[in-house]
């Protein structure tokens, strides 16, 4: 049973008179209690996708279904009561907290909006309990965000997101701006919360190593398109798309001498100003052939629930002889 279902979502916006095709035909489903990671670099459209899932942006086309409700059909006003069930944690912990409000007021705000029947004392009680749950103390409630560390600020962002007991939380690079030692503990907290409350996560990130630790399934995005998706373990141990491989080889191990052969991509991410009419990686791909430039991107199954959008992989798949026992 899926809590969120994105079907063939496209989003085009205008910036400076130019069209930006941020999301192109993405379909994604998130099951209850599951964590789906969306991986990509800046400009991959992953954050736009997150905002579409949140109903903050209405996509140009496609459908966004949250617990059976079509979000694209709702007005902003109709959307509001749903927000207690669908929450978000942003990348920049400090920027996402109102610098003028005390921590206690920040965490209490969703309750004021969605649970107006609660008395001030009840609210305070819930806020303190939540502060303690995310590893802070009641004493923090009276502080301003700027007097807290980055890790503590992010814990407050998390507390605000889960105080209304949402069913789905979009985590938009929640640990990217944190130091490594803090990062691990925040990830721990997110996993514990998920285990306790059965929350579903969409974990948006550019860091495959972190994703490997927290997600059940992963979708790799490039130029607004999903190029590979599948169970995390399967994708990480057996990445098939050249882009996924490049992304993986870019992560450096802290084990001296443990180096993965670099799969270099040529150049850099182009501007997503046109709707892709050929393979999105065309022009950067290390295994590109002429036919790639006329190939329409589509996902094809390569293993159980593992899909890849690459013409070369698709062709290999059709000729199992050449595959030589590979998965």
């Amino acid at each position: 049973m899926s809590i969120m279902e994105l079907r063939d979502v496209n989003h085009v916006f205008r910036r400076g008179g130019k069209e930006v095709h941020a999301v192109n035909g993405v379909s994604l489903s998130v099951a209850k209690g599951e964590t789906v990671a969306v991986i990509g670099e800046s400009g991959s459209g992953k954050s736009t996708l997150g905002r579409i899932a949140l109903g903050l942006i209405t996509p140009t086309s496609g459908s966004v279904v949250f617990d059976g409700i079509e979000l694209t059909a709702l007005s902003r006003k109709q959307m509001r009561p749903l927000r207690s069930r669908l929450q978000v944690v942003f990348q920049e912990p400090y920027e996402s907290l109102n610098p003028r409000l005390k921590v206690g007021d920040i965490i209490a705000e969703p309750l004021i909006i969605h649970r107006p029947e609660l008395s001030r004392a009840e609210r305070r009680e819930k806020v303190v309990a939540m502060l303690e749950r995310v590893g802070l103390t009641a004493e923090h409630a009276d502080r301003l965000p700027r007097n807290l560390s980055g890790g503590q600020q992010q814990r407050i962002g998390i507390a605000r997101a889960i105080i209304t007991e949402p069913e789905l939380v979009i985590l938009d690079e929640p640990t990217s701006s944190l130091d490594v030692s803090v990062r691990a503990r925040v990830l721990d907290l997110l996993r514990d919360l998920q285990r306790e409350r059965g929350i579903s996560y969409v974990f948006i990130s550019h860091d495959l190593a972190t994703v490997g630790l927290i997600s059940d399934r992963v979708a790799v995005m490039y130029l607004g398109t999903v190029v590979e998706q599948g169970p995390t373990q399967e994708v990480l141990t057996n990445p098939r798309h050249p882009y996924t491989q490049a992304l993986m080889s870019a992560t450096l191990s802290t084990v001296v001498g443990q180096k993965r052969e670099h799969v270099p991509l040529r150049g850099e991410i182009p501007n997503p100003s046109k709707k892709p009419t050929k393979c999105v990686l065309s022009g950067r791909c290390p295994i590109e052939v002429d036919a790639c430039s006329s190939w329409q991107v589509r996902l094809a199954q390569v293993a159980d629930r593992h899909e890849v959008a690459c013409m070369r992989v698709e062709q290999e798949q059709k000729q199992p002889v050449e595959l030589g026992g590979g998965r």
Partner: protein, 286 residues
């Protein structure tokens, strides 16, 4: 720090320590506020040597002396008493005008930060309005509607209201892009809540700076209008009308009549600018 916490202090002493600490960090704010408060309190409470509205025909155009430290004017008014007492009308009027402009700026500027055809249209209309020489416009309005003191208030608001609207709108537009606004919307906050709970507290800093600058400007506008004889009913003392009276006497050598109200205007404006500077620095520091 820990030493201070260990020794129990009386509440009064604590307040003093707080002010001293504040003064150390922001001397401009404390000095500015202190001078303004001094001027304001003195105008209402200080024992004046002479009645500022009763002339003494026997001592006309006296230079500064022990009896009249700032001298007397052509009507026999004591200049010192009048300079001090003028603060009674000039300063509260400037403050009230500023406050009214701020309230209008918030009530109009914040909603205008929502982008729409309507708000764009309003801003264009405001552009057109502001392209008038506003001081001339306010002179016209005040002289047409009568020589009433509250008309000066309207003049200040006509000049400064649009400035506040513009400032608050542009600040609010910038803050609207902030991540915490998106977070508030994602939490389900209604537009009104977003505006007053999240945007407004974050524009207040800039408003405070603008308020002290506007008050300074208002002091000048009031003086200018009074100088032109608008909005004053003699013999009520105002700095502007005193300068006007004194200006005629300068050519004949009685410099003191115009100088002292001028100095008072200067002190008021300098302290307001100091205050604005101090606030600006604190805002940037945080």
């Amino acid at each position: 720090m820990s030493d201070a916490a260990a020794i129990p202090k009386s509440p009064a002493a604590e307040v003093v320590t707080k002010i001293v600490n504040f003064a150390r960090v922001s001397p401009g704010i404390v000095a500015g506020v202190a001078v303004l408060l001094f001027l304001l309190l003195a105008s209402f409470l200080a024992p004046l040597p002479y009645d500022p509205v009763t002339p003494d025909p026997t001592s006309v155009l006296q230079p500064p002396s022990a009896q009249h430290i700032f001298g007397t004017d052509a009507n026999g008014f004591d200049v010192f008493s009048r300079v001090v007492a003028a603060g009674r009308s000039d300063l509260p009027l400037a403050l009230a005008g500023t406050l009214a402009s701020l309230v209008i700026g918030l009530l109009v500027g914040l909603p205008l930060s929502v982008k729409s055809k309507w708000s764009e249209g309003f801003m264009r209309a405001l552009d057109a309005f502001q392209s008038f020489p506003l001081i001339v416009l306010s002179v016209t309005i005040v002289s047409l509607t009568g020589n009433d003191i509250q008309n000066i208030l309207y003049a200040i608001v006509i000049i400064n209201g649009p400035r506040f609207i513009r400032l608050i709108r542009s600040e609010a537009l910038a803050i609207r892009e902030a991540r915490f606004i998106e977070a508030a919307i994602a939490t389900g906050a209604r537009p009104r809540r977003v505006m007053f709970r999240h945007i407004m507290p974050n524009v207040i800093d800039v408003c405070l700076v603008q308020c002290s600058l506007t008050t300074a400007n208002a002091v000048i506008v009031i003086a200018a209008l009074n100088f032109l004889g608008i909005g004053v009913s003699p013999p009520t003392p105002t700095w502007g009308s005193m300068v006007q009276v004194g200006a005629q006497a300068i050519s004949t050598g009685q410099w003191w009549i115009a100088i002292w109200p001028g100095v008072a205007i200067f002190i008021a404006i300098a302290s307001l600018n100091m205050l604005a500077n101090g606030i600006q620095r604190r805002v940037e520091g945080s």
